[in-house]
C-alpha cells in the first residue's frame, strides 16, 4: 500500500481491494518505522483510526464516496487541529491544544481524509531546512550516492516533504510563505504547490507573514496535488483575504496538454554560480514542453534580483507584528516574573529560538519610527515592481518555467551559521510569493550525486488549471520515477 496515490486509493476502496482501516493501519506502522526522519511532532493514531472506521462505515452504508475518502494525510504542525497539540515547532507553543480546527484541515476532514500526524517544521515556518525546529531537524530520506551524510529536507514544510518522499503517506499539507512548500518538495523529489494567495483560507494556520502565507498540497504526483487542492480550497468568511473565486475541477484540467501554450523562460533566473546540471535540466524542461507543443518564449522579469531583499523586509515586518501575540498571557509558554513587562520579555526570550528572535528584531527595526519609510515602504514599492514584472510577462506567456531551488539538498547542519546563505535558498520561489501567484515544484531529474532537482512553474492569479496542465505535461516528459534508498 506504500506506493498508492490518491486516485489509486479512491479506486482500491471502491473495488473493495482494501478497507480504509487496513490502509491507515498499514500507514501508521510505516509512520512508526520512519522515526529516524524525525518528521513527526505529534502522531494521531487514535483519531486516524476513528476517521478510517467512519470512511468504511460510509462505504458499507453505500453513501456516495467523498473526494478524499480514507486518504491518510500528514499535516504540517502549523495548522490548528482541535484537541491535538499544535506547536509550530516552537517551545512557545509546546503545550498548546487548539480548541478549534483550521478551515483547511476541516475541509480535508469533510472530504473524508484521515489526518495521521502533525509534521515537523522550521520554528514558526521560518527557515529553509527544518533545522530551526525546537524538536530537532527533520531528515531527508534521500542521500547522495557517495556521501553518507544525512541531508536537509528543506523547509519550512520539511517534515511533510520527508514523509511523502519516503512513501509513508501519499499526501501532506504544507504552507508556503517564501518557498516553504516548493523548496522542500524540490529537495525531496516530490510535487508541492503553492496556490494563488487567497485560494485557501488562512484561518487557523499559525500566522507568519499574513500577506504571503498560503496552504498547499504536497504529493508524489501532479494528479494527487490537483485532487487535494480541490478539497482544500474555497471561500471562507473567517479569512478576510479569502477569495470568492469558484474552485474549478483541477483534476479535469490535467489532460489539456500544452499545445499552443506559451511558456516563458526568464533570463534573470540564470544566476551566477548556478550548478551546470540545474541549468541543463531547466533547458531540458523547456525542450520537453516545446516537444509537447508549447512555444518557449524568452522573457525578462527585471526586478528578480531585488525580490529576496524585499521579502526579508516584508516577511519579518509582518512576523514581528503577528508574533506580538505570544506574551505568556492567553496561551502558550509563560516565564513568570513579578512585573508584567518583565514577564513578556522573559517569556519571549525563553519561547522563541534564535532565528525567530532574529526575524522579530529585524521586523521591529524596519517598522520602527524613523526607519519605516526607508525600509518597509521601500520594500512594498519594490514588491509592486516585482508583481508588475509578472503582469507584463503574462501579457506574453501563459506560464513561467524556472528552477525551484539553486541547489539540491545540502547536508544537515550546513548554512546554519550564515542567515543570508540560508535565505538564498528561496531566490527562485520568493518572487511568485511576493506577487501572490500560484506556483508548483515538480521533480524533473537527479543530479550527479543522485539527489533530486525540481523545476517550478508559475501561473497567472487563480489560473492553477494552466499550472496543473503544464505540470502534468512536464511530469510525463520527465518520467521521474527514482526513489530514495530509504524506501527500498
Amino acid at each position: 500500500m506504500r506506493d498508492l496515490g490518491l486516485a489509486d486509493i479512491r479506486a482500491g476502496l471502491a473495488e473493495g481491494a482494501f478497507s480504509a482501516v487496513e490502509l491507515v493501519e498499514d500507514r501508521l506502522a510505516a509512520l512508526e518505522a520512519a522515526g529516524e526522519l524525525n518528521a513527526v511532532v505529534t502522531p494521531m493514531p487514535d483519531r486516524a483510526l476513528e476517521a478510517a472506521r467512519a470512511a468504511d462505515a460510509r462505504r458499507a452504508a453505500r453513501e456516495p464516496a467523498l473526494p478524499l475518502d480514507g486518504v491518510p494525510v500528514a499535516v504540517k504542525d502549523l495548522f490548528c487541529t482541535e484537541g491535538v497539540r499544535t506547536t509550530a515547532s516552537s517551545a512557545m507553543l509546546g503545550g498548546f491544544v487548539p480548541p478549534y480546527e483550521s478551515t483547511v484541515t476541516a475541509n480535508l476532514i469533510g472530504a473524508g481524509a484521515v489526518l495521521a500526524a502533525k509534521t515537523n517544521l522550521d520554528e514558526f515556518a521560518m527557515g529553509s531546512s527544518t533545522a530551526t525546529s525546537h524538536f530537532g531537524p527533520a531528515v531527508n530520506p534521500w542521500k547522495a550516492k557517495d556521501d553518507p551524510r544525512p541531508r536537509a529536507p528543506g523547509g519550512s514544510s520539511g517534515g511533510s516533504a520527508a514523509l511523502v518522499a519516503a512513501s509513508v503517506v501519499p499526501a501532506a499539507l504544507g504552507t508556503d510563505t517564501g518557498g516553504s512548500i516548493r523548496q522542500p518538495a524540490a529537495f525531496c523529489g516530490i510535487v508541492g504547490l503553492k496556490p494563488t494567495y487567497g485560494r485557501c483560507s488562512r484561518w487557523g494556520i499559525v500566522a507568519f507573514a499574513s500577506s504571503l502565507d498560503q496552504a498547499g498540497p504536497m504529493t508524489r504526483s501532479v494528479r494527487d496535488a490537483a485532487i487535494m487542492l480541490a478539497a482544500m480550497a474555497g471561500h471562507d468568511p473567517k479569512d478576510s483575504t479569502s477569495a470568492r473565486e469558484p474552485v474549478p475541477d483541477f483534476e479535469a484540467a490535467l489532460g489539456g496538454g500544452v499545445k499552443g501554450l506559451r511558456i516563458g523562460v526568464p533570463r534573470e533566473y540564470r544566476v551566477d554560480g548556478m550548478p551546470e546540471e540545474l541549468d541543463a535540466l531547466w533547458r531540458e524542461g523547456a525542450a520537453w514542453l516545446e516537444e509537447a507543443g508549447a512555444e518557449i518564449v524568452d522573457i525578462s522579469l527585471p526586478h528578480t534580483h531585488y525580490a529576496l531583499p524585499a521579502y526579508y523586509i516584508v516577511a519579518p515586518a509582518e512576523a514581528s507584528s503577528n508574533l506580538a501575540r505570544y506574551d505568556g498571557v492567553r496561551y502558550g509558554l509563560r516565564s513568570p516574573a513579578e512585573v508584567v513587562e518583565e514577564q513578556y520579555a522573559r517569556t519571549r526570550r525563553a519561547g522563541f529560538g534564535a532565528e525567530v528572535r532574529r526575524r522579530v528584531l529585524i521586523g521591529t527595526y524596519v517598522l520602527s519610527a524613523g526607519y519605516y519609510d526607508a525600509y518597509y515602504t521601500k520594500a512594498q514599492r519594490v514588491r509592486r515592481l516585482i508583481a508588475r514584472d509578472f503582469e507584463q510577462a503574462f501579457g506574453k506567456v501563459d506560464a513561467v518555467l524556472t528552477p525551484t531551488a539553486p541547489t539540491a539538498a545540502f547536508p544537515l547542519g550546513e548554512k546554519m551559521d550564515d542567515p543570508i546563505a540560508m535565505y538564498l535558498n528561496d531566490v527562485f520561489t520568493v518572487p511568485a510569493s511576493l506577487a501572490g501567484l500560484p506556483a508548483v515544484s515538480l521533480p524533473a531529474g537527479l543530479d550527479g550525486e543522485g539527489l533530486p532537482l525540481g523545476l517550478q512553474l508559475i501561473g497567472r492569479p487563480f489560473d492553477e488549471e494552466t499550472v496543473f496542465r503544464t505540470a502534468a505535461a512536464l511530469e510525463a516528459a520527465a518520467g521521474f520515477d527514482a526513489e530514495p534508498e530509504f524506501v527500498r
Binding site: G95, V97, P99, T196, Y197, G198, S211, P237, K238, T241, A243, H303, Y306, P309, A310, Y312, I313, S320, A324, G328, V329, R330, Y331, G332, L333, R334, P336, E338, V340, E341, E342, Q343, Y344, A345, R346, R348, R349, F352, R357, R358, V360, L361, I362, T364, Y365, S368, Y375, T377, K378, A379, Q380, R381, V382, R383, R384, L385, P419, I420, A435, G436
Partner: protein, 95 residues
C-alpha cells in the same frame, strides 16, 4: 546600516525580548549584515511607484457588526497559563 549595541537594546526592548548582554554584540553583527544586504533595494528607482499594500488589489469585505460565535469562556481559557474565574490572570500592573 550598521547597528550598534545600543540600537539592538532599543529594538529588543520594543520587541519585548530579553536579550542577554553577551548576545547583543553578536546580534548587532548579524542584524547589520542582513540590513546591509537588504539595502541593495536602494539601487531601485521607486520614485513613482505606490507601495503594494494588498495582493491582487483585494478589497477587504464588510460584514454585519454582529458576533459570529462565542459564549464559551472555558474553551477560551483552556490554554491560559493562569486564569481566575472567567479572566486571564497576570501579575499586578497597577499599584
Amino acid at each position: 546600516m550598521a547597528l550598534d549595541r545600543a540600537t539592538v537594546e532599543r529594538i529588543a526592548a520594543l520587541a519585548r525580548i530579553d536579550i542577554a548582554g553577551e548576545e547583543r554584540d553578536a546580534l548587532a553583527g548579524e542584524l547589520s549584515a542582513i540590513l546591509g544586504w537588504v539595502e541593495t533595494l536602494n539601487e531601485v528607482d521607486t520614485e513613482d511607484v505606490a507601495p503594494m499594500t494588498s495582493v491582487g488589489g483585494h478589497k477587504l469585505p464588510w460584514r454585519d457588526d454582529v458576533a459570529g460565535d462565542g459564549g464559551y469562556p472555558d474553551r477560551v481559557l483552556a490554554n491560559a497559563p493562569d486564569a481566575v474565574g472567567a479572566f486571564f490572570a497576570v501579575p499586578k500592573v497597577v499599584e
